[in-house]
Symmetry: C2
Subunit: 325 residues, 2 copies
Amino acid sequence: MERVTMADVAREAGVSKSTVSQYLNKRYEYMGEKTKQKIEEAIEALGYQPNFLARSLKQKRTSLIGIIVANITHYFSTEVSRAIEDFFHQYDLQAIVCNADDDPEKEKKYIEMLRAKQVDGLIIFPTGKNNDLYESMVKQGYPVVFVDRKVENLDVYSVITDNSESTYQAIQHFIKKGHRNIAFVVQPLTVSTRMERLHGYKKAVKEAGIELNPNFIIEANIPEMKEKLESLFSSEEKPTAIFAANDRVFIALGEFLKEKGMKFGEDLEIVVFDNIPFSQLLETPITFIIQPASEMGRKAAELLYKQINKENSDPEVFVFPSKII
Amino acid sequence: MERVTMADVAREAGVSKSTVSQYLNKRYEYMGEKTKQKIEEAIEALGYQPNFLARSLKQKRTSLIGIIVANITHYFSTEVSRAIEDFFHQYDLQAIVCNADDDPEKEKKYIEMLRAKQVDGLIIFPTGKNNDLYESMVKQGYPVVFVDRKVENLDVYSVITDNSESTYQAIQHFIKKGHRNIAFVVQPLTVSTRMERLHGYKKAVKEAGIELNPNFIIEANIPEMKEKLESLFSSEEKPTAIFAANDRVFIALGEFLKEKGMKFGEDLEIVVFDNIPFSQLLETPITFIIQPASEMGRKAAELLYKQINKENSDPEVFVFPSKII
DNA sequence: CCGGTTTACTAAATCGATTTATCTATTTGG
DNA sequence: CCAAATAGATAAATCGATTTAGTAAACCGG
């Protein structure tokens, strides 16, 4: 467990620490050829590995950025995270991914922890319940980008999709195909994305002159979802099409239908907001509203990178369109 | 961007830095009630946030552990990573996930980078091509655990599955059902897992007295896989069952069959080594060999945690059984 | 009331780098 | 030939905490 430090290298090479540091930072401006050589040899001989902690402490940069996802079991989050990592890799910045589990307390804890670890910036899928904290970060000029969900009343960089619009189009498409009984299944309406999707649904239904049947809007947590679906399907008017507000809802729905012996596409048409992996393997046609996760991740990373490098511009909100397939 | 340091708090509270430090570390042994109060107030007033870097530099612990996965697009890796994160969360340790992309060079770079950042330990899905590096870490007593793949000739903590045995059983099962033409599709045989799975396949085939047809063993990278499958299916003897050596192979296979208009289960029976998400949604029965990813992750985390806390015991290899469903 | 404990707190060294100001030796130019 | 410029290297301060050794005051028994 022999720690080799810069001082050891300096001693071995017969020069000062400062010179070794210059060498490591490739400031060769005024450096003798022989000195370089000696240092190189000393490093080799001792197997020296620099300590980034010490360097970061002095430089006030850690080359780490933090990603706080609202829910890591959501496939969209992992796609975005991967794109972010890819982007930062070229600049030798590493990403730390933390999972807030849709819990504002956890989110707060992670934000504080990552800032204490001096990460250079944060990309957050906000739970939306820590506005004070978000605000204080922004005020302090700390680099932050928000993804997926809007933050109310705060002027920040955000990268989101046109939830309302694409839901509207998908529902409109269903209506054109003749569906009148379209159900909307969603987790609790606590975040902007879900509310916007519902808004798009309502708009399409109203415009088509269909009366909005409140029983067709199912709002429940994943564990209670099957139960609610049960009562929907045992009621008078049964839906002929269903909108699943995200991939987790879709899985619950899939399990439910399987138990009932129903099939997608045949007994019921389905739209899912979200891509799912392996979707190309499913045999029945399902409509997916796909968010451009990679592009969104890259954009978020880019925005953060600019802030870290103090290339200041005014915060903007980037809205990406989704594709319906 | 006002950085508040411990010195500021000390000044504000009218005590010394040392006392503030004691307070933060909850060493109240000899501390006056009024002093505590004053410090508490000062922290509140200034909005002080401790700097972990400085602390880590002194303590030589960062409360970070690194996970280097061979391939992050492999679903198994993410499941294991999540289990590891969960385990460490209770001890306030964070995990950094890095993707080596099956590239030994990248793997080396990441190992060096993470060690320079002074992470407290490493969990590695080894590419198997950096044995010297692995060895030097182990010799230095640095905490490491290897997952998924064996490391040759090195006495280390490892957590793996019984690749050969479970493949053997799955193939045997197929043979019992009457299949004689069973193909084995795999990515290049560069790592232990793939070789062991092939070994299990060969063993089952031989024991059943079936002549081993080398054309039935397809070894190719994902992009070339379809081409190879093409030639397999245009040859004389067509397989009636296929073993896909992991999830990525399965996707390639699925796409190929879809293009050809064939269906799993009906035209061809399939076993996949690996779980895939949403597998419960697939309508046709496919056999999966499922590795207990969560248990494996937890075990690996536990082994690393023990090493970090110097609870030394001799390195062991833990082999987990897979389930066939 | 004196020496020894205990209590409460602090000064200063330390971790391992970076960085600035400084110093010496050598060139250069007028 | 001497002052100024330049090349090459270094001493020392610094980053923001932890930790050790130490000090001062209060306490305490005989």
